[in-house]
Symmetry: C2
Subunit: 342 residues, 2 copies
């Protein structure tokens, strides 16, 4: 089969790899119908040292069940399924409390002998606990929005949930990437009355307005903080959907004492401000990697009935062979989120 | 009047100062009946540069209302009152949401022309919003526990509240100082079934057991984390009541993914771990300086009926003139918490 492998910064190759096979009785092999490139894929694409055997890429995909291990239940060949961006057994203590990202038997696609999602097929470990059946056909117009449940929409939702967004709230979303835009959807869905979107790419912030953002702040740094405070007087709930120190500082500057900052962007820093200033302000830092599996079934009905359409974040489709172009286009900010069709 | 002033590390002096007078119509002058030395007083006692005019010390006190400004309501001369460790108007937006520590018109004793509590008398700004009347006489045996509402008990309670402690929980309290011990009381009071107290001073951890700690871990660092994990399998809720990087690391090592760490000790660091490791684990960092005023009335009935007795943290009483000895005894860990009687 053909699949995308990252060999170093700027070096994604689509190449022949062995066809995935059932290895464990809990495995399923999925024929990929659609996958995509994640904002987090761009970090190794920007910085991975060259050399080595390469890393299969992609952790967001949906496809058709092709082959099943003997212990797999609840799935059948021919089912259209969506995968959360990590696999999990859905039975351990962490899964039982909805924290599938910390599953005792879970793992990441592209590591430990598991392929990535940017390919023609993939072996999914703990398939019964991981994959969610989709009650539509593979040519459904809803496919992009269903694919968004794999990561960006469930991640945006995690931000809104952990920030404690509720009816009538004012929420700041920092970042107009696909996750930030999905966080806008999620905040509105949970009842936010006012959603301030901090971002400076107009096509993206326009989409954010379409998703329900009531205000857009294009300024950055101190100027951005001043603008948010001018608009709102400060906010109690912030979803930080980028992961840089600058965006964290924007969140810290805009939040009111006693407020909550939920972080969704993988931090590009090891240490952050936790000193007396943050302490005296009673700020809460929460969020983290989304337990996507816990949220897919919650959000699925809203996707199916069109109440939310997170698939609108996909603004360009690439064939699998053009995956390298998809990475470069996203890195160049020419494309918001690239959908890949094998 | 006589009052304690800190002139530099190790240099507390009790000296004559001008008698406090009503300055604003919202002021009250309180004749101090009892005050105390806070663990946080020991930080400047250890490190304040010498020189300058000195800093009046003490932010925990109770006493008798002596003189009232013309705008003061709800208080009368002769009332016995307890002061939270910062003053606040109890009317601003922050106070309205119970975050008195961030009061728009609030401030700290010992700063901005306001005396400290370690003295014979003190002018309290925004007295109607700050002081809470106590329905006992000044010679009540409950005085130490009522004084504890000024800071340590309301701070311990803040830790339990922000950590989300509820019925049946297992809670780790890091630190056997007065705040940590009061956090044990608070966690039990909110329904915790199991409270692990990390501390190595046996007299203090024994008191912690008396307050309801079910287990004591005397080991520190990696050994302490291993012991806590052995006892509990890891905990979901941690109250960090010291404020050093080492105790934060203990909290981070003992907490389960998805868990909450509430910080009560003023951080003795500016930056802390907020990188991918914390992010992937979905840890929540919360807590901060307690809005003591918000909690005094909630906890007062339990003190009055003896359900909780946080005053047991006071293990030695000093006359005001011996305040320097009280500081040194606490710095030397000879005394857990010193009560000062003018």
């Amino acid at each position: 089969m053909r699949a995308a492998v990252l060999y170093g910064a700027g070096d994604v190759r689509v190449e022949d790899r062995p066809d995935p096979k059932i290895d464990q009785p809990t495995d399923v092999v999925v024929r990929v119908v659609a996958s995509c490139v994640c904002g987090s894929d761009l970090w190794p694409y920007a910085s991975m040292p060259a050399g080595g055997t390469g890393r299969p890429m992609g952790h967001e995909f949906l496809g058709i069940v092709e082959e099943l291990g003997t212990d797999v239940t609840g799935l059948a060949a021919g089912d259209l399924v969506v995968a959360p961006f990590t696999y999990s057994d859905n039975t351990c203590d962490y899964c039982a409390k909805g924290l599938h990202i910390s599953c005792r038997n879970g793992g990441r696609y592209g590591f430990d002998g598991v392929d990535g999602g940017q390919g023609e097929a993939i072996r999914v470990p703990h398939a019964s606990g991981t994959l969610v059946r989709l009650p539509v056909s593979a040519d459904s117009a809803l496919l992009p929005s269903l694919l968004a449940l794999s990561d960006v929409m469930t991640t945006g939702h995690h931000g809104a949930v952990t920030a404690g967004v509720g009816h009538g709230d004012t929420v700041l979303v920092v970042g107009d990437g696909a996750v930030g835009l999905c966080a806008v959807i999620a905040a509105k869905r949970l009842g936010a009355e006012r959603v301030i979107l901090a971002g400076r790419h107009q096509a993206r912030t326009d989409l954010g307005r379409g998703f329900g953002a009531t205000d857009v702040v294009a300024e950055r740094g101190e100027e951005g903080i001043a603008r948010i405070r001018e608009l709102t007087g400060g906010v109690n709930k912030v979803i930080e959907a980028v992961g840089t120190r600058q965006t964290l500082d924007t969140a810290l500057g805009a939040v009111l004492d006693g407020g909550t900052i939920s972080r969704l962007g993988v931090p590009q820093y090891e240490e952050g401000p936790l000193g007396p200033a943050v302490f005296m302000r009673n700020l809460t830092l929460t969020g983290g990697a989304s337990p996507a599996r816990a949220y897919i079934e919650q959000l699925l009905p809203d996707v199916l009935d069109g109440a939310i359409a997170p698939g609108r974040v996909f603004d360009q489709t690439f064939s699998l062979d053009r995956t390298p172009d998809a990475y470069q286009a996203m890195a160049d900010r020419q494309v918001l989120k690239a959908l890949i069709r094998p």
